[in-house]
């Protein structure tokens, strides 16, 4: 064979092998498509199956019933085999060619190419796993250093660099943490009726910022797993299932989240007593609002009214803190009410179910404490028990009832069975009549009657047995329910405690914050109210509250007005001030004695006089404000000595103003309206931290009314105090609004709370509080003289700081759901009371907004035309000239 022929044959073989290889690849492609198009099949799954059990390969090719699938397997199998063979032959022939002297150079080039590609892949794999990111934002340019006058107009902050302390803390975190970014497309706009463009824009931007931040978190290592869940994503249900599989707490938290949230989740396994590991899930939730707050007012006003998106950063520290404290104990909030209907598991509008839901959503635990019992037996008596105790008691009573019923039924069964036995026995009629003579009461039983009774009694016994079995089952279920109740022993022990003060103190001691709601007046027009006298606590209970506060623990009082309609059938309220209100007076918080009515309510009052159908339900009252309206000085901001001396704004007020800003208002939330509040004043009788006390105010369009119920004789309306009015000059003087209706103070406890042998100071403090009911001006002056000089700092006094908040409305948080506005007020007040100031919305950081360039219409037009037309046209012109010159040459 000549050399040329050999070469041609070699080329043909090479061509054939390559063509076979390409055909094999094509076959693999077709087979893969066939598998991919079959539901439940995929090339990857098939390969995985073959790797697990290679012996099934033959079965796949020959025994697959679906002809489409069988063809696909064949195409895939044959294609892979042919491709593999072609590759092997090509490699072998390549090696043979390399061995040839003439092809050494070509082979060398191939080898270098292979090495180059390997190096390229290797370098990038290394770089993929070992990389660095440099955040250059906020850096000063070098040219700005040597050209000082060219420094930037503003100092730019780094955008993608975590603070050093946060970085250090996160770097030490080893527990695997899943960060779920949950987009529910509800955050901004919840506070207003209809979200607008600012709300949507804020959501988009904050989502972007959250993604950036979690991206930075991921850089700390594999312990952070970041998952994005978007409810608008079509794959959301599957993704949710995947993320929450085996994580019920996370599932519950996602389901409960009402808005865009970031959830931090960890699972910790601890060895149990029985040697088996128990897992404990911990979930913390952060609203997108806790990361950035929208300032809609500033957004609208930005750029001389042209608008911009203005967001208030809340700091990444709060974000990082949640990650670090994902397993922290939740603060427990105790809700002390007088009736089970008023608890968080109570009756519809009267319940505090919404409060529980909101607090739990924001990471609190809630416990109900009931302070009175015996409502069905006349006047209630003082008590202190939890709903758990009440439930246990109820269950135990039910259990006793079951036991009693079962005992009766057993006896009945026994008796009836005995009769049936006798009827069925071989006793003669005489013997039977003798045996049953008491039951027959003088009558005689015939054979026929004997048979009829047997027929009647047999199903009766069966029915009774069935009924008893049912009762037994229900009883067993009840027992199981009792067994399931948490801390049964503690509940039983608590029930055994009879001393109300001790018991209340014990229950309070388990709480980090106590909320005392007193819903009184609901609708003055129709007289819908709960009499205030029912809320009055006895001395032991008052002391329990005092002891709790004396320990420096916070209390949130929500006391509605105490005014009663002029109805002589109602029992008269006990004489003297309410002991709990007197307790608050000792730290300077004075609850007003009137109800605040709004001018808009006057019409409803007059309508009620002529029509019983007028309920006043549709009265539109103005929302509460977080800053005193400027129309007039609010009543109560003056002390006996003159001006208030607060140097700092109230923290809750500032937080709520930021929240209001997100709804487009500076100092109020349209959805936060309080009907029939009462004034709450603060007189700084004790040293405080210098912050303003008042954080809630009524609109100026209001007045304080001592008789807020319309009667035939009198319709409530504003009437200025007359000259001889004893209330004139006091806080109780009838005057126009605005009024403070919410105060929050951090103060020290009075010395007598630590040492009860200082009653003079307490009495004096009460009298000097010029809002006290009996404190007319002359008496007040006399009382001031009684105040001992060492009143505020007596020997041996250990100042204990306490935070207290009081709102002059008892039903602020009642109802099955809380509106977002009320929820925000509740959560921020609770956080402030618990000293968690870092969780309050803040406005101290520079606001974020889109950069803007100010251009006049002409300059904008010049820029547009210059860049879009002139620049390209200039180069087109240059090109044309060059081409013309070349042509000319």
């Amino acid at each position: 064979m000549t050399k040329g022929k050999r070469r041609r044959r070699g080329s043909f073989v090479l061509f054939a092998v390559r063509a076979l290889g390409v055909a094999g690849l094509f076959s693999v492609l077709l087979g893969s498509i066939g598998l991919w198009a079959t539901p439940g099949q995929s090339p990857r799954a098939t390969i995985a199956q073959l790797r697990r059990a290679p012996s099934t390969f033959q079965g796949l090719l020959f025994d697959t019933p679906d002809w489409w699938l069988r063809i696909s397997y064949w195409l895939l199998g044959v294609g892979m085999a042919v491709t593999l063979a072609a590759v092997v032959i090509t490699l072998l022939s390549g090696l043979a060619r390399l061995a040839g002297r003439r092809n050494v150079a070509g082979g060398n080039a191939t080898l270098q190419t292979a090495l180059c590609v390997a190096l390229l892949i290797g370098v990038n794999i290394f770089s993929f796993e070992h990389y660095r990111r440099w955040d250059w934002t906020g850096r000063t340019l070098t040219w700005a250093k040597w050209r000082p006058a060219m420094a930037p107009a503003a100092r730019f902050a780094p955008q993608f660099t975590l603070p050093a302390d946060v970085t250090n803390d996160l770097a030490q975190l080893r527990a695997p943490t899943t960060v779920v970014v949950y987009q529910r497309h509800k955050t901004f706009g919840r506070l207003s009726d209809k979200p607008d463009a600012y709300d949507y824009a804020a959501e988009r931007k904050v989502v972007e910022k959250v993604h950036d931040l979690v991206h930075q978190f991921r850089e700390f290592g594999p312990q952070f797993k970041v998952v994005l869940l978007d409810v608008e994503d079509e794959a959301y249900p599957a993704r949710l299932q995947e993320v929450t599989d085996g994580r019920p707490a996370l599932k519950a938290a996602i389901d409960a989240a009402p808005e865009n949230s970031i959830l931090f989740h960890t699972v910790r396994s601890t060895p149990g007593a029985d040697g088996q590991a128990t897992t404990r899930e911990s979930v913390q939730r952060l609203s997108f609002n806790d990361f950035y707050q929208l300032d809609k007012t500033a957004s609208r006003q930005a750029g001389n009214g042209r608008g911009n998106l203005v967001l208030l950063p809340q700091g990444v520290e709060s974000f990082a803190r949640r990650v670090l404290a994902v397993e922290e104990k939740k603060p427990r909030v105790g809700i002390a009410v007088i009736h089970e209907w008023l608890t968080t598991e109570g009756l519809e509008d009267y319940s505090l179910a919404g409060l529980r839901k909101s607090l739990e959503l924001y990471g609190f635990e809630v416990t109900d404490i009931v302070l009175k019992k015996g409502w069905t037996e006349g006047e209630p008596v003082s008590a202190a028990y939890t709903l758990g105790e009440s439930q246990l008691e109820r269950l135990e009573e039910d259990l006793a009832e079951y036991d009693a019923v079962l005992a009766v039924n057993r006896q009945e069964l026994k008796a009836v069975s005995a009769v049936l036995e006798k009827l069925k026995s071989k006793l003669t009629l005489d013997e039977l009549n003798r045996e049953l003579r008491q039951m027959l009461r003088g009558q005689r039983m015939s054979d026929e009657a004997r048979k009829i009774n047997i027929v009647r009694l047999e199903p009766q016994i069966e029915a009774l047995k069935e009924y008893m079995a049912q009762q037994e089952r229900e009883r067993a279920e009840l027992v199981a329910q009792i067994d399931r109740m948490p801390a049964q022993e503690r509940l039983a022990e608590a029930r055994r405690m009879t001393d109300v003060r001790d018991k209340m103190s014990k229950l309070f001691a388990e709480c980090d914050l106590i909320i005392l709601p007193r819903m009184t007046l609901r609708n003055a027009v129709v007289g819908d109210r709960i009499p205030a006298r029912l809320y009055r606590l006895d001395e032991a209970q008052t002391k329990a509250v005092r002891d709790y506060m004396a320990g420096g623990r916070p209390v949130f009082a929500l006391f509605g007005p105490v005014n009663e309609p002029p109805d002589r059938r109602q029992p008269a309220p006990p004489p003297g001030p309410d002991p709990i209100e007197a307790l608050f007076a000792q730290i300077g918080i004075i609850f007003g004695n009137q109800t605040i009515l709004f001018n808009s309510e006057a019409k409803a009052f007059s309508q009620r006089r002529v029509s019983l159908l007028a309920t006043g339900g549709e009265v539109e009252i103005p929302p509460v404000q977080f800053e005193a309206p400027r129309v007039a000085r609010p009543r109560g901001t003056l002390t006996a000595g003159g001006e208030t001396t607060s140097t700092h704004p109230n923290a809750i007020s500032e937080s709520m103003k930021i929240v209001a800003g997100a709804a487009g208002s500076a100092d109020k939330l349209e959805k936060l309206k309080l009907r029939h509040p009462r004034p709450v004043h603060f007189t700084p009788v004790r040293s405080s931290n210098g912050s303003a006390a008042e954080f809630l105010f009524t609109d100026a369009d209001s007045w304080n009314e001592a008789e807020p119920f319309p009667t035939r004789e009198k319709t409530p309306r504003y009437e200025p105090a007359k000259a001889d009015d004893p209330n004139r000059g006091t806080r109780d003087e009838e005057t126009r609004g605005p009024f403070p209706i919410g105060v929050a103070v951090e103060t020290t406890i009075p010395p007598e709370w630590q040492n009860e042998t200082r009653p003079a100071g307490a009495a004096a403090a009460m009298l000097t509080a010029d809002g006290a009911a009996t404190a007319a001006a002359p008496l007040r002056l006399a009382a001031q003289a009684l105040v001992p000089e060492d009143r505020y700092d007596p020997p041996g006094y250990r100042p204990t700081h306490v935070r207290v908040a009081a709102v002059g409305h008892g039903g602020l948080f009642n109802g099955p759901e809380l509106s977002p506005a009320k929820e925000q007020l509740l959560v921020h007040t609770s956080n402030w009371l618990l000293g968690r100031n870092e969780r309050l919305p803040r406005g101290d950081q520079p606001a974020w907004q889109y950069p803007r360039v100010e251009l006049s219409p002409r300059r904008a037009a010049v820029w547009q035309a210059g860049t879009l037309v002139v620049l390209p046209a200039a180069f087109a012109f240059l090109g044309a000239i060059v081409l013309l010159v070349r042509k000319y040459r």
């Binding site: 190419t113 990038n124 440099w134 906020g138 998106l309 090109g879």
Partner: protein
């Protein structure tokens, strides 16, 4: 070296002497002009609209990546394919110049034109950075500094001319340099800037964007150069380069265009790989926002180096064949 420089100059001037250079320039600037207009609208918008990082308006856009996908192949398609189709490659390969130098000269010339392509976009900066200027007026030092303008004029003459204008170009360039240096020294003694300027928008994202554009452009040009060395037809070279470029662009385009939603866990290895390879994502997430990531730069530089090496090998192989 001298021959390399003259080859580089020939290739570079070639872009300006043929219509393709101008067509590319004009189309590129038209596209960028539209994107700039879009960004400027956001920077001067009313209401809640806006763009946090102006360079994102330019580079974080599907439109830009469609332009960027097409431009490098347009620049590189002729580099070797034209030489092969016209038969001048053989004479080039037999010339006293090493293959490496041939490849480098063509690559650098192409890269230089790519830089020229981007230079007009510097005109956008006053708006993108919200710059305000304070011009103190003409005096001697500023006049001398302004003499520095003679440098680009002189260099243009040096590059584009072959006759007596070349020495004039050198003179102009050197004179401009001396003048600018003297003016600068005088201004520094007076502690006075040439022109007072302040920026209202963080300039660093612009710096990082141009750094990224330079290296990413180099990578795509090197890819195009390699493809051009493999085929004879310019059209095929451009089409194959477009297809190869898709490896680095398609994933990002799909995500930026909303055709593909990232997985729930964006830390998944597959998504990380897609992210690693997708140049548009590098720009929308990092470069245009002032972040430099070593992974991106290493990818660009390593692919550039590898492609240049493969181009050299391709030429070498051709020589042996």
């Amino acid at each position: 070296m001298r021959s390399s420089l003259s080859l580089m100059r020939k290739e570079f001037t070639g872009y300006f002497l043929a219509p393709v250079g101008y067509v590319t320039l004009v189309l590129f600037l038209l596209g960028m002009g539209v994107l700039f207009r879009f960004t400027m609208d956001l920077l001067t918008a009313e209401g809640a609209k806006g763009v946090e990082f102006p360079m994102q308006g330019l580079l974080g856009n599907v439109g830009f990546w469609l332009i960027f996908w097409v431009v490098p192949p347009l620049l590189t398609m002729r580099l070797f394919a034209e030489e092969r189709s016209t038969g001048t490659l053989e004479s080039l390969l037999t010339a006293p110049i090493r293959d490496t130098h041939v490849v480098l000269a063509k690559f650098l010339a192409c890269l230089a034109f790519y830089v020229v392509l981007w230079l007009p976009t510097l005109f956008y900066l006053p708006v993108l950075l919200n710059m305000t200027f304070d011009w103190p007026g003409w005096d001697l030092p500023r006049g001398l500094v302004a003499g520095g303008l003679a440098i680009p004029v002189g260099l243009t003459l040096v590059v584009f001319s072959t006759n007596w204008l070349r020495p004039v170009g050198w003179l102009l360039a050197l004179g401009g340099l001396v003048s600018a240096l003297i003016g600068e020294v005088m201004l520094r003694r007076q502690n006075s800037p040439f022109v007072g300027a302040t920026v209202g928008i963080d300039p660093m994202p612009v710096v990082t964007s141009y750094i990224g554009l330079f290296f990413a452009g180099a990578m795509f040009l090197a890819l195009g150069l390699w493809v051009s060395s493999l085929v004879r037809s310019q059209i095929i070279a451009a089409l194959v380069a477009l297809a190869v470029n898709l490896v680095f662009i398609l994933g990002g385009l799909m995500i930026l265009g909303g055709f593909y939603a990232p997985p729930a866990d964006t830390g998944e290895q597959a998504y990380r790989v897609v992210n690693f390879l997708s140049v548009p994502l590098h720009f929308s997430q990092d470069f245009s926002r002032g972040v430099i990531d070593s992974r991106h730069l290493i990818l660009y530089m390593s692919v550039t180096a590898a492609m240049l090496f493969l181009t050299v090998r391709s030429l070498e192989r051709r020589r042996w064949q």
